[in-house]
């Protein structure tokens, strides 16, 4: 690892000022699990790490009216094991459980995972499906970015050079709504997904028609891919097995999957169909049963 200095800003404002001052030379640092790895491989060599851990008020998981808000310093493990998360948005904890290992989740943060914008990120597609909002603070003030606009390319986000991700807001699931995250891996654990699929499906009432749905893929394109055509085929319909099978068949047509050492594009295409189908089925069951 190349040498660097750690700076300890006390506030978000100070962090943004430091970012403005040092530009590309500075990197924001929270859990650091991904960043330190890149630095050890000598692929990234910042001169300054801006350690957010000294900033008050970024480390929380709380309920705010109809939503959950998670601070930038909350670790993946804290979210995974939070009773509040389990009670309000259980699928979030389920998804996080599939990331890396306990040791990584004890240190890595949700915000850090999002800011890395790895195409195989698990939280990214789920947060889009859940209609989360990302609260961003910068020298120009605060703004909110929906996650579908946050991921702009492989490892690239919509954050401006002087902005940081401050918190993540996730609305509670309404009644008769079900959400699920499925990930197809080649190993049982400690594996990145060949395909990840997040579904949130809302029913008008129990056993009613689908009033809204979001289906988002991870791991198959440079950024999470929302399957809006598939969603449109489900919206306003009474969903049954045959409809699910039919729409799932169209799913892979909506994206152009990448090919890498984990899987070919062709296999990914097949898996999109399978997991979109399984994801919708699962979400539907949950919506009917009222479990999230």
């Amino acid at each position: 690892m190349k040498r660097f200095e750690i700076l300890d800003p006390n506030s978000i404002e100070e962090t943004c000022e430091l970012l403005a001052r040092y530009g590309e030379e500075a990197k924001v640092y929270a859990g650091g699990t991904a960043l330190v790895k890149l630095m050890k491989k000598r692929l990234v060599h910042p001169s300054f790490l801006l350690d957010l851990k000294g900033i008050q008020g970024l480390h929380f998981i709380r309920e705010e009216e109809d939503r959950l808000t998670i601070g930038a310093l909350s670790t993946l493990r804290e979210i995974e094991t939070s009773p509040l998360v389990r009670q309000r948005i259980g699928v979030l904890g389920e998804m996080i459980h599939t990331i890396g290992s306990v040791q990584i989740r004890n240190v890595g943060t949700l915000a850090g995972n999002l800011c890395l914008a790895d195409p195989a990120s698990d939280p990214a597609p789920l947060l889009i499906a859940l209609r989360a909002n990302l609260k961003v603070a910068g020298s120009g003030g605060k703004r909110t970015i929906p996650p579908e606009e946050f991921f702009s390319d492989f490892y690239e986000t919509a954050l401006l050079p002087e902005e940081i991700l401050e918190a993540i807001e996730i609305p509670f699931l309404p009644q008769h709504s079900g959400a699920v995250y499925l990930k197809h891996t080649m190993r049982e654990a400690f594996d990145l997904g060949v395909v990840g699929v997040a579904v949130r499906l809302d029913l008008e009432r129990k056993d009613g028609m689908c009033s809204d749905v979001r289906i988002v893929l991870g791991g198959v394109t440079s950024t999470p891919a929302r399957l809006q055509k598939v969603e449109a085929l489900l919206k306003g319909k009474w969903i049954d097995e045959s409809l699910i099978a039919r729409v799932a068949m169209t799913a892979s047509g909506e994206v152009d999957p990448i090919q890498d050492v984990r899987a070919s594009a062709e296999y990914r295409r097949e898996m999109i169909e399978v997991f979109v189908e399984r994801g919708i089925k699962n979400a539907l069951e949950r919506a009917k049963g009222g479990v999230s």
């Binding site: 690892m1 190349k2 040498r3 660097f4 200095e5 750690i6 650091g32 699990t33 330190v36 790895k37 630095m39 050890k40 491989k41 790490l49 851990k53 493990r77 459980h97 890396g100 290992s101 306990v102 040791q103 990584i104 004890n106 240190v107 654990a189 400690f190």
Partner: protein
């Protein structure tokens, strides 16, 4: 520029001066001479470097030493007192959960963090807690047995 690092390791206080780029693993091994914690892959994938930091298992190869400021670290050396082994160590020894031994301290520390938090885990919970620890020798069968055997004893 070196910075002050105050931390407790295995119950003992240390006051060190370290460069920011050094990992917790390097400081534990090179500065404190506690070589029971191993450097395997160096990329957070094998778990041989697992230590317990403020009650939580972490991979010390991916953590900057300065992140342990004011914290309490436990390594494999802190588990046994004299010749009296910790129950987990005893179980690993007796149940054949050790072959080459390179993964062992990481395995035991990850297991300890689990049992401290959840004294009676299921087999699945044991597996989930050791999901980031590689072993190339044992096929894991005896490691799982060893950890579960400790959960079945009354005192720990």
């Amino acid at each position: 520029m070196k910075r002050q690092l105050e931390l407790k390791v295995n119950g003992l206080g240390y006051s060190l001066e370290v460069d920011p780029h050094r990992t917790l693993l390097e400081v534990i091994r090179d500065d404190l001479g506690l070589t029971g914690t191993k450097l395997g892959c160096g990329g957070g994938e094998c778990g041989a470097c697992t230590v317990i930091l403020d009650g939580k298992a972490v991979k010390s190869c991916l953590m900057l030493a300065l992140d342990a400021r004011g914290k309490e670290v436990w390594t494999i050396e802190g588990l046994s007192r004299g010749q009296a082994l910790h129950l987990l160590q005893q179980a690993f020894v007796e149940r054949g959960a050790i072959q080459c031994g390179f993964c062992t301290s990481g395995m035991i520390m990850a297991s300890k963090a689990l049992l401290d938090e959840n004294p009676r885990p299921s087999e699945q919970e044991v597996k989930d807690s050791l999901a980031g620890n590689l072993c190339r020798c044992t096929g894991y069968v005896k490691i799982i047995e060893a950890v579960l055997s400790v959960t079945n004893t009354e005192k720990r």
